[in-house]
């Protein structure tokens, strides 16, 4: 269980809930009745500092800083049982993805997540597929009689990652010049 948070009313971010509900699909946040079904079925409930229903309550109260710094938003295993079971149709797993997006914008990104994006930026795939690695993979596939891989144009992939705003957060540009 997390420690009790004491906060002045003036320090609450009362707009936080609306930052979340701006996105189609997250409006359901406002319907939460704090029944706790999400937390009781949560795969990682014993490992998080804030259980799902408490994350939702904290969002509604305006505890933005606490939510975005919690380990709860990154510990989730994405099993989607919370969303499936909520009697008020609160889409918790989607809301959690939004919260992660918000934390990422503030630069709070666990390396387990940023490293995946780097691999995709470099290879177009989530598995390294250049030089020696590529040769080994191609040889193995050929032996098994599998067709050749035709990889994507990396410029297209990088353009999308950059254009949607993820590039600046993840990819260090110093090598470019």
């Amino acid at each position: 269980m997390s420690e009790m948070i004491k906060k002045n009313a003036n320090d609450l971010d009362l707009n936080f809930r609306y930052e979340i509900t701006e996105k189609v699909g997250a409006k359901s946040l406002l319907k939460c009745i704090q029944c706790g079904v999400c937390s009781s079925g949560c795969t990682v409930t014993e490992y998080v500092d804030l259980q799902p229903h408490r994350v939702v309550a904290s969002c509604l109260l305006g505890l933005k800083e606490e939510v975005l710094s919690s380990n709860a938003i990154w510990t989730c295993s994405l099993c989607h049982r919370c969303t499936e079971r909520c009697p008020k149709n609160v889409d918790y797993s989607f809301i959690l993805a939004l919260l992660r997006n918000m934390a990422a914008k503030e630069g709070k990104i666990p390396k387990e997540y940023s490293s995946t994006v780097k691999v995709i930026y470099e290879n177009g795939f989530v598995v390294p597929y250049t030089e020696g690695m590529k040769k080994n993979i191609d040889r193995r596939r050929e032996r098994m009689g599998l067709p050749e891989i035709v990889p994507p144009n990396l410029d297209d992939i990088r353009f999308i990652i950059d254009e949607t705003g993820l590039g600046d957060l993840i990819i260090k540009k110093e090598d470019d010049k």
Binding site: V24, G25, T43, V44, Y47, W74, T75, C76, S77, L78, C79, H80, R81, T83, E84, D91, S93, F94, A97, L98, R100, N101, A104, I109, P110, E112, Y113, S114, T116, V117, I120, G124, F125, V126, V127, Y129, I137, R140, R141, M144, G145, L146, P147, I149, V150, P151, P152, N153, D155, D156, I157, F159, I160, I161, E163, T164, G165, L166, L169, I170
Partner: protein
């Protein structure tokens, strides 16, 4: 059969073709025996992987996914996926953007700059969805050469295949039965067990112990069941890897005798359809399915 018959664009993803091509081989063997025509998708990228990309920037996730679907649209074919992660990503792209034309427009503005457009004309399938349509089940039954009559199998659905059900629209989100149905059609017996719907924990990236606990719970239950379980059957490369690798590690750590082999559904289907065991590279698994093979060959 689907409206476009038995011809699909095959979306392989990354993990299967690049790290576990033996799973791809098994799937292609099954598809070929059943008469599913597969067209290669050239120039597709990672689906992209639903955990990191969705977590860091939902728009990056959807736009890369829409680019992949745009390639299938150009081919004029529905998409067939063979990995639950790819299925979740591509199906979410097609459902979310199908319901939100404004968002689709915004994404196409980016795609048009690199000469792609996604209009939402095609459907995304997982092969389990395809093979459980009545015509294909019948075909499976009639083409079974080596019925799995003596096998007692445990099914692991994994999370991303069935949930969130408002997007996946695949099977019952908490009591799915499609994979069981395929295995039963091939003659096997599938069992009910308490942890059947539990997550494999592969996507809980920050704490290794979460995955280990989940794998230990499921494998321990399966090993303690009265009737011996011959294999755990999964449809996602992440789940297969997670159970196969962690089972060994946990057995070493705890001294428990955990030795249930983990197979990818098309592998066991291929066996039933008469593919030679030698062609399936089952020995590359950490937990060797020796007992299972013995049972199948005697």
């Amino acid at each position: 059969m689907t409206k476009k018959g038995n011809k699909f664009s095959l979306f392989l993803g990354c993990t299967i073709p690049l790290k576990m091509p033996q799973l791809e081989k098994a799937f292609r063997d099954v598809a070929s025996i059943l008469g599913v025509e597969l067209k290669e998708m050239e120039g597709v990228s990672c689906c992209p992987e639903p955990v990191s990309l969705q977590s860091l920037n939902i728009d990056t996730w959807l736009t890369l996914g829409a680019r992949n679907l745009a390639i299938a649209e150009k081919m004029g074919l529905d998409v067939l996926t063979i990995c639950s992660g790819c299925y979740e990503t591509l199906k979410t792209v097609s459902v979310l953007l199908g319901e939100d034309p404004e968002h689709l427009k915004k994404i196409n503005e980016i795609l048009k700059k690199i000469n792609y457009e996604y209009t939402g004309k095609i459907t995304v399938y997982h092969f389990v969805e395809l093979f459980t349509q009545p015509e294909w089940l019948e075909k499976l039954k009639s083409l079974t050469i080596k019925p799995l009559d003596d096998l007692n199998l445990a099914v692991h659905y994994g999370c991303h295949l069935v949930r969130p059900s408002k997007i996946m629209r695949f099977d019952h989100p908490e009591k799915p039965e499609k994979i069981d149905l395929i295995l039963q059609t091939l003659g096997a017996k599938t069992i009910d067990f308490a942890t059947k719907l539990e997550c494999c924990g592969y996507c809980a990236r920050l704490q290794e112990e979460i995955g280990e606990k989940l794998v230990e719970d499921k494998m321990t239950e399966l090993c303690e069941l009265e009737e011996e379980v011959d294999a755990l059957i999964a449809v996602c490369p992440a789940c297969v890897t997670q159970y196969d690798r962690k089972e060994k590690i946990i057995a070493r750590k705890t001294g428990k005798e955990l030795d249930i082999p983990v197979l990818y559904l098309p592998e066991i289907m291929a066996i039933a359809l008469g593919v030679d065991l030698e062609d399936l590279s089952l020995s590359t698994r950490s937990v060797k399915p020796n007992k299972l093979i013995e049972k199948l060959t005697t």
